[in-house]
Symmetry: C2
Subunit: 291 residues, 2 copies
């Protein structure tokens, strides 16, 4: 007997994954939570019928979201992750020895509990003494902070339901205020090819709250369109250029990130630059006689 | 009523596309050919139940396959495309004014006929006086050639059925012999994340026939894994560095390619470099104190 899980990626487009077993399935206060063992993607977390993270490709998503801002910042000590209850972003943040405290604020404590029990690859950082796990609405947590964090990361679900508030100007403005001088912000900002209008809106909302905002991308096979965007925002300096490189602690650990991948992630094709209204990015391929 | 087409992307992974209409459907001598109008991808060519090319993302695939070798070559005049019956690669080749003759050799004349009738966006180059359309087995055509082409492109289906022969060392060896000195070769070489073993094998077969071979990638949402690879092979010089840049003829025409995208396409993440055995690429992120 074959069991399949199907997600409606977009209107008129579905992805179906064959399941070896349903590891857990429950209704939490906020959403329906499922963890599957799948044939192609290995272990998989699904919230409200949307694939959140899979064993096969989570390293691409988490290393992109985390290490681009973390290697842009010269010395990140205090980090805040909003969302990210599976623990993958926290795990990557804690690889940086400079980090003294890493807060992970997820609204749904049952996601954290399920990750602890069933997603050990993701949640390995939960027991790190530098980890601070908080079950609270991310926006409310952020609203109490002033000049507190070196890096703030938003590892959220799609902008429907509990995460909708995390895609608003008001929230980005709070994030800007909660950063120390020289701090930086990064968020997952959806698919530039599947939902370009959404990405455009979200990018420009972030850009309205920071002096510098740049979009970068990575391939993530289990997300709609297979190609994902992130937006990093800073108070100055070019986030496409890392200020540090991975030291010996990272030897053999990084599977997606490298300094060259960091830079490459910011290079966007002409149509995406145009569709998303990213004029800043057009300098990279226009004008100039030399190569 | 909803009509859906489903492709088995990989064992345990399926993609389903809702269809507005079946434009044409027939058994040719070699394969089953369908052209659909789909909700998400627009017009779509399907051969033997595998998505070949879609209106929404064909520009990424064709501009990657064609313009990386074409802008690496300083002055391509005579070009051979093996496969590519839809016409998308030919269209991109003919954008280069230096081209005097472009041969497109597809084994299946009914694909070419269907593209002419139903895929006008792809097949617009068929009527160009520089286009030479040939219905023949690509390997046999190539076996008669010596030092003839500046650029040879392989725009094939997957390595099963009629295209299997186009993924063998024998074929790459013929391609090497059919190139002029200074010529270059490029082929679509499948998904580095969905079928890494296959990509590894194919890459190393190509590398065994040329002094220089490099893998590059692009996101193609309608292909398994959403992330595709190409291999370019040359007799010298670094194909990651274009020798020319798009001139005024290309203004506003290119949607994916730019010189920066060209360079970016060759930057690969550590895990892919390791999985595929691409030692040459590891220089980009290892050692060295400076950034």
């Amino acid at each position: 007997m074959e069991v399949w899980f199907t997600e409606e990626w977009l209107p008129g487009l579905r992805i179906s994954c064959q399941i070896n077993s349903v590891v857990t399935r429950k209704k939490t206060k906020y959403q329906e939570l499922c963890i599957f063992d799948t044939v192609e993607f290995g272990r998989m977390l699904v919230l409200d019928n949307v694939i959140q993270t899979t064993e096969k490709d989570e390293y691409i998503y988490h290393e992109s979201l985390v290490h681009v801002p973390m290697f842009f910042h010269p010395h990140p000590e205090k980090v805040l992750i909003i969302g990210g209850g599976d623990g993958g972003s926290l795990r990557e943040v804690l690889r940086h020895k400079s980090v003294k405290e890493a807060f992970m604020v997820d609204i749904d404590g049952e996601v954290i509990a399920a990750a602890k029990e069933h997603l050990p690859t993701w949640s390995s950082g939960f027991s790190d003494p530098r980890a601070r796990l908080v079950v609270e609405d991310g926006r409310e947590f952020l609203a109490r902070s002033r000049s507190e964090y070196d890096v703030i990361l938003v590892d959220s679900t799609d902008p429907v339901g509990p995460a909708e508030v995390l895609f608003q100007v008001d929230f980005y403005s709070l994030a800007s205020r909660a950063l120390k001088p020289g701090g930086c912000f990064a968020a997952q900002t959806e698919s530039p090819i599947a939902t370009p209008e959404l990405v455009k809106n979200v990018y420009h909302r972030i850009a309205s709250c920071f002096p510098v905002a740049k979009l970068y991308t990575a391939p993530v096979p289990s997300y709609p369109g297979g190609w994902w965007s992130f937006t990093i925002a800073t108070f100055g300096g070019d986030p496409a250029e890392p200020t540090r490189k991975p030291d010996a602690d990272f030897e053999g650990v990084l599977k997606y990130y490298s300094p060259e991948i960091h830079r490459r992630a910011f290079v966007l094709p002409p149509k995406i630059i145009k569709d998303l209204g990213l004029e800043y990015a057009s300098r990279q391929y226009s004008s100039g006689k030399g190569m």
